[in-house]
């Protein structure tokens, strides 16, 4: 008992971990921050009755903007990690397009120290692939890795020159860091919404799917040639998903898509509401179906939210003037469960694989409910129906495209390293013998 956190037994939860092959109502015992035992009739100094709840490996989000440093009015590490915890996320990768950009070792080490103090969940720093994300000079990736960077990325802006991208991949390979890529060709991406029927009817400048597809193709070709470990983030078109599929055997490549590209389409553009501006833009129903199919069959490896908080003055504007981006952490699972699982488009098991196991493997080899693994877990009530409201969000911002929507399924508790970091069922937790 000296300095050890108390044991916790979670009783009678329906544990679903497709990677570990668990799908049963049973107990799990947590000790010293790790999973100590899985089975029937377990006992511990503390117990949590989870009857009626599902227990998944904690969700893992490789794409979040916690706006720190620079825009702490929109989100900081405390609020971003609270939002993540409220969404069942136990590990999050922070993107580098902050102010200043995370492009120097001293910025990385500063963030790492703040994460240790302020984050409720495990958080990882993605450093910038090039200085100022300007697409010209490579960053000091090796020194940033020593300072604690987990990966490098060009997120937010992409890399507009193939030669720079290629050298960035080669250098990242030497450094041993994975590369997360935002694929967008700025010579094509000149609009604010998807260049489709809705844009045509509304009279809004369109960004064609080719802006993403051409950049994705370039990135994949370079990944195959250089052998770098590359992750393509927020794939939003059917063609980009198919391109990823083509390169799966030819490159060390993985890819994600977002909850909003899986559940929403450019039909929302007709509202002319700045809320719905996002990058890449909400696409056509055909694209939405394409990325859903690609997530179902594993061509797209997992889901990432692209959690992007914005102050209300940046969103309550005409679409053309609004900042692109949506909150993501807290609605990810409920939106996907409601729209994809309950409608029969994807199985619950595949959704858990895509939100926990697969991104967990990519980030830290975790994402499983197995003995010895860190006790990073999400308790979810699949029967709870709730309406997304400003008051229900833990983020410092409110720009969720699901505001006002009724969703089914809600996170009831989140455990990181054996500690309850989000708890809507606290009353059930008590000391029992």
């Amino acid at each position: 008992v000296i300095g050890r956190p108390a044991e916790l037994v979670i009783r009678h939860a329906h544990i679903l971990d497709p990677s570990a092959g668990i799908d049963a109502v049973t107990d799990v015992r947590i000790s010293s921050g790790r999973i100590a035992e899985v089975g029937e009739g377990l006992r511990g100094t503390r117990a949590l009755d989870a009857d009626g709840l599902h227990l998944f490996p904690g969700f893992v989000d490789v794409h979040a903007h916690w706006r720190t440093p620079g825009r702490e009015d929109e989100e900081d590490i405390e609020s971003g990690s609270s939002s993540a915890a409220a969404g069942g996320f136990t590990s999050v990768v922070m993107m580098p397009n902050t102010d200043p950009v995370v492009d120097k070792p001293v910025v990385v080490s500063g963030l790492v120290r703040r994460i240790e103090r302020e984050s409720r969940v495990r958080a990882y720093v993605s450093a910038a692939l090039h200085m100022g994300l300007a697409g010209e000079r490579l960053t000091e990736m090796r020194l940033m890795k020593e300072a604690g960077a987990f990966c490098v990325s060009d997120d937010g802006l992409g890399t507009q020159t193939a030669g720079v991208l290629r050298n960035g991949m080669l250098y990242a390979k030497t450094t041993g860091l994975p590369v997360i890529l935002h694929c967008e060709d700025h010579t094509l991406a000149t609009g604010v919404v998807h260049d489709g029927v809705a844009a045509a009817l509304a009279g809004l400048p369109g960004t064609p799917a080719s802006a993403e597809d051409a950049a994705t193709a370039t990135a994949l070709v370079l990944a195959a040639e250089t052998g770098a470990k590359v992750h393509i983030t927020h794939v939003s078109t059917a063609l980009s998903a198919a391109l990823v599929g083509f390169f799966k055997e030819r490159a060390d490549v993985t890819a994600d898509t977002t909850p909003h590209h899986l559940t929403l389409t450019d039909a929302l553009i007709s509202t002319l509401d700045g809320m719905y501006r996002v990058n890449p833009p909400l696409r056509s129903e055909e694209d939405r179906g394409g990325v859903t199919g690609a997530l179902r069959d594993g061509t797209l490896d997992f889901v990432a939210t692209d959690h992007a908080p914005h102050a209300s003055e940046e969103k309550e504007l005409p679409l053309q003037e609004a900042a692109p981006g949506f909150l993501g952490h807290e609605t990810a699972f409920p939106a996907l469960y409601t729209e994809l699982v309950l409608s029969g488009r994807i199985s619950l098991s595949r959704l858990v694989e895509a939100m926990s196991c697969a991104p967990g493997r990519w980030v830290n080899g975790g994402g499983n409910v197995v003995v010895g693994a860190p006790a990073d877990l999400a308790l979810v009530d699949l029967s709870e129906e709730w309406t997304v409201e400003r008051e229900s969000l833990s983020s410092r911002s409110f720009n969720s495209p699901y505001l006002g929507r009724r969703l089914t399924g809600r996170v009831a508790g989140t455990i990181v390293g054996g500690e309850m970091v989000y708890d809507r069922i606290g009353a059930r937790l008590g000391a029992r013998s």
Partner: protein, 305 residues
Amino acid sequence: LGTRNFLTLENTSREELREVLDLARAHAEGSLGHPLAGKTVCLAFFEASTRTAVSFELSARRCGADVISLSEKGSAIAKGESLIDTVVTLDRLGADAIVLRHPATGAATLAARHTGAAVINAGDGCGQHPTQALLDLYSLSGAVGGFDELAGRRVAIVGDILHSRVARSVIPAFRAAGVEVALVAPRTLLPLDAGAWGLPILSSVDEALDWGAGVLYMLRLQRERMTGARVPSVAEYARFYGVARRHLDRGALVMHPGPVNRGVEISGDVVLDGYSLIPDQVAAGTHVRSAVLALATGAAHEVAA
């Protein structure tokens, strides 16, 4: 006796290397005399060079040759004369050997097709720099107690291998001498197919020492490579690909073809340290180039006969 070109060391043999190094030692000991008396050596430098040009000129003069120096400035080259026409002109003027430095890979090979004079490649683009690798072997042999002592030693070549003609001569020459070679560079300074030579690829000087390198052969990082396209910063480069005093604790020797960027590939307090062979390399230049000129013009065999 015929002339012999020195264009590349790609397919050189242990015996060829020994022959050059033995002759260089004879020259150093003063037993060669003036083998090039009556011969004409032309130095054609189409690219800036200090030590190689001076070293060749001194070697040729000490061996008794008549020397003609062409530089890009103040010659027909500046007027736009083609490489082939320049070489043919030198040939007809009676040059016995043409020492050629040129910014384009393959220039020496092209020149050799258009003259009966011996062509000595003094550096062609990112291609070859044979006399550099030969003088490196000469000075390293001297440091370790003889040519035969090179076998089995480990040499790490560190830096911009992609753009280095020195590396492309040093790699095959050192291997022919029995040296085990590893390459140390970020992927941005290696050919895409970094396995082209079938050598280990390491990613820092520390890793090279862990691998057992007894010699750190440092390449020059050209200033135009420091702008962030392939190397993020001098600080990061120096940290992982520079040799500092702390590296010398493990007894490795340091070599560099010059000119050195102090504080980039070699920290300032290491350049002239006791573990540095850099001054020896320069000194070896005239002996080795005298031997090469004597072999190239056939003069060495005339002396021997």
